[in-house]
């Protein structure tokens, strides 16, 4: 090490930290191609969610009866559906519904869930018990039934589905947060912090949150996949997206009766669903490996 390094500027140190981070990420991705695949798929879907409408060659709702049920061709990459709409354009435009739904549902679910869970864990006693029983109640309610009841009351729409899914997902985060709170409550550093008079908020922010973050991140990434599948499943039953929204689950419903001779109408939206969820699951797995040193040790 020559003398120049001894006088390295603040910027240089930061740059090197960034470079190291990038290098280790790249090395990590290269080591396991599955993770790379996951990341790329997720990026692709996010891009589609934002730019899908513009990238689509036709309008996803443009009806053209003359060209109904055309097979895949250079003019219609994924063929046309039963009223002549271009399936490729609809698939591209459909990405935003899935991403948007997952984002909204998980944001609310995580916020509410963690709030309730942390409160239950730290408060303990009667409050804690009551909150956990409330959580149990929501856990016990069959998700599908609830989704349908909401749809029947508020009308069938993605909004109803979002409400129903949020109600089903938050208890899991509450449980997780409570578990974290319980286990960390008595850790030395937390007790120490309390002794020195740190406010609850500070403890949460500096001690609890960083410990919870890895688990949370992994769980959310995996749950995005499930949320997307749930949305599609409910739309397939007719409860979520309504015509003419090009949501993937709804498209599979519409294409179902044409499977035999016009398989492309239902197949491509399903493929898009599969690839999207696969991407998120691979990403989640990769994150888990990356963030949990214990497990990483086991993979030589």
């Amino acid at each position: 090490m020559n003398r120049n390094h001894a006088f390295a500027t603040y910027n240089e140190i930061e740059d090197r930290r960034l470079a190291r981070l990038v290098k280790s990420t790249v090395r990590y991705l290269k080591r396991d191609w599955l993770n790379a695949l996951g990341v790329s798929l997720v990026l692709l879907v996010f891009l589609l969610a934002i730019f899908g409408d513009r990238a689509a060659p036709y309008s996803p709702t443009h009806v053209d009866i003359e060209s109904r049920l055309q097979p895949t061709s250079s003019v219609h990459l994924f063929g046309t559906d039963h009223v002549g709409r271009d399936v490729f354009s609809r698939v591209l435009s459909g990405a935003k519904y899935s991403i948007w739904m997952a984002t909204v549902v998980l944001t609310v679910a995580v916020t509410v869930g963690i709030g309730v869970g942390l409160l239950a864990g730290f408060a303990g006693g009667l409050v804690g018990e009551l909150l956990m029983r409330l959580t149990d109640l929501f856990l016990a309610f069959p998700g599908l039934i609830f989704a349908i009841a909401v749809a029947a009351t508020l009308g069938r729409s993605l909004t109803s589905t979002a409400i129903a899914l949020t109600t089903v997902y938050w208890p899991w985060y509450a449980r997780m947060a409570r578990g974290q709170a319980l286990s960390l409550k008595n850790e030395e550093y937390v007790l120490a912090a309390r002794c020195t008079g740190a406010s609850l908020l500070r403890i949460l922010g500096r001690h609890i949150w960083p410990n919870m973050l890895p688990i949370l991140l992994i769980q959310v990434t995996l749950d995005v996949g499930y949320a997307i599948l749930s949305t599609a499943g409910l739309s397939f039953l007719g409860l979520g997206a309504q015509p003419p929204q090009p949501e993937w689950g709804a498209m599979i419903l519409e294409g179902r009766q044409y499977m035999r001779d016009f398989w492309w109408v239902a197949t491509f939206p399903g493929l898009a669903l599969f690839i999207t969820v696969l991407g998120f699951n691979l990403l989640g797995d990769g994150l888990r490996d990356w963030l949990d040193p214990r497990l990483r040790k086991g993979r030589t």
């Binding site: 069959p142 599908l144 039934i145 029947a152 009351t153 035999r260 239902a266 399903g270 669903l273 086991g298």
Partner: protein, 334 residues
């Protein structure tokens, strides 16, 4: 332990009670008029009044709720508007169908999942591992209803190997069904032709339904095995000179199985609810399809009954498992 029970049982009952209130309320906010449904168009207003009175639909909500709960205790789950029969009778007919489907699906999932899990753990890092993990992740990511359609397209429409759905061919269904599980009943009745037919009908839906639990079990088994294989006692076993298979089977696998078994329990519960989409695709006459149809036809009694049934099963099963958990591990306190 007993303190735990005293806490848990009343809580479970409270939860169930709240459920009845919720389902009852929801189904009465829905604007479909059941009297109109029963009478059809062109019925006179007087007739509609008569129907409403007969079914006590003109009573105040609270009274209707009280009647509802009383009937529940008598085992009367109401009448389905769609099938025109008591819901309890419908459920009795459809529940075994779902049970049979889920049993086979879970068997496939457990056997397949354990195999894939063990193999990928043992051959970690190799091609087998990568393929196995890719397969597991794919299984988790697959929309079951889409896969079902594709499988139907291939196996039924194009190849004609298996029937498109339902439980049995129409003309073979006329024999006694004491248990409701067609496979068992066919054997009991000595009908080999019917047995083969039933199995053929079961294969596609059970396989499609098994995919997700299979993937979950495989992944969990793999991770669990990997953890266990790093333990000291495994090294000891190997140092003692035991053959690798013995090490794996007797020591590693047995211990690795525990979390998997926990997961299997949860998976069974979810598969019961998760069968909805698979049953719809394959026109399987089970509780899942019944639920979907009832809800989509605004058949309130059926919807409420199914909700309660599923929730109750889940709650009770969970409570039992919890009790045993607490009994066996004194470290855990609720």
């Amino acid at each position: 332990m007993s303190r735990f029970l005293i806490q848990r049982i009343p809580l479970t009952i409270v939860v169930l009670w709240v459920l009845t209130v919720i389902t009852f309320t929801l189904s009465h906010i829905i604007p479909t008029d059941p009297a109109r449904l029963m009478a059809g168009p062109k019925a006179s207003p007087a007739t509609l009044e008569r129907i409403r009175h007969r079914y006590r639909l003109d009573r105040p909500l609270l009274e209707q709720y009280a009647t509802y709960v009383t009937r529940l205790f008598q085992g009367d789950l109401g009448r389905s508007m769609v099938s025109r029969r008591p819901v309890a009778q419908d459920l009795k007919e459809f529940f075994p169908a779902t049970v049979e489907l889920v049993l086979l699906a879970m068997t496939i999932a457990v056997v397949g999942g354990l195999s894939v899990g063990v193999l990928t753990a043992v051959y970690r890092g190799g091609l087998m591992d990568h393929l196995g993990r890719l397969f597991s992740v794919a299984g988790l990511s697959m929309p079951a209803f889409w896969l079902g359609l594709l499988v139907q397209l291939l196996v039924y429409y194009r190849l004609g190997w298996l029937p498109f759905g339902e439980r049995i061919s129409t003309d073979l269904s006329a024999f006694n069904h004491p248990t409701g599980l067609f496979t068992v009943d066919a054997i009991l009745a000595g009908r080999l032709d019917a047995f083969v037919d039933v199995v053929k009908h079961l294969i596609m839906p059970a396989t499609v339904l098994s995919l997700e639990p299979l993937a979950v079990i495989a992944r969990l088994t793999r991770a669990s095995m990997l953890e266990v294989m790093l333990q000291d006692y495994i090294r000891t076993a190997r140092a003692k000179g035991l053959r690798e298979q013995v090490v794996l089977a007797r020591h590693a696998l047995k211990n690795a199985l525990l979390p998997t078994v926990t997961m299997i329990g949860m998976q069974i519960g979810w598969a019961l609810g998760g069968s909805v989409l698979v049953e719809v695709i394959f026109n399987w006459p089970g509780v899942g399809r019944y639920a979907a149809k009832s809800i989509l036809s605004a058949d309130h009694s059926a919807v409420m009954a199914i909700t309660l049934l599923i929730a109750a099963t889940y709650l009770v099963a969970n409570m039992v498992v919890d009790v045993l958990y607490v009994t066996l591990d004194p470290r855990i306190s609720y």
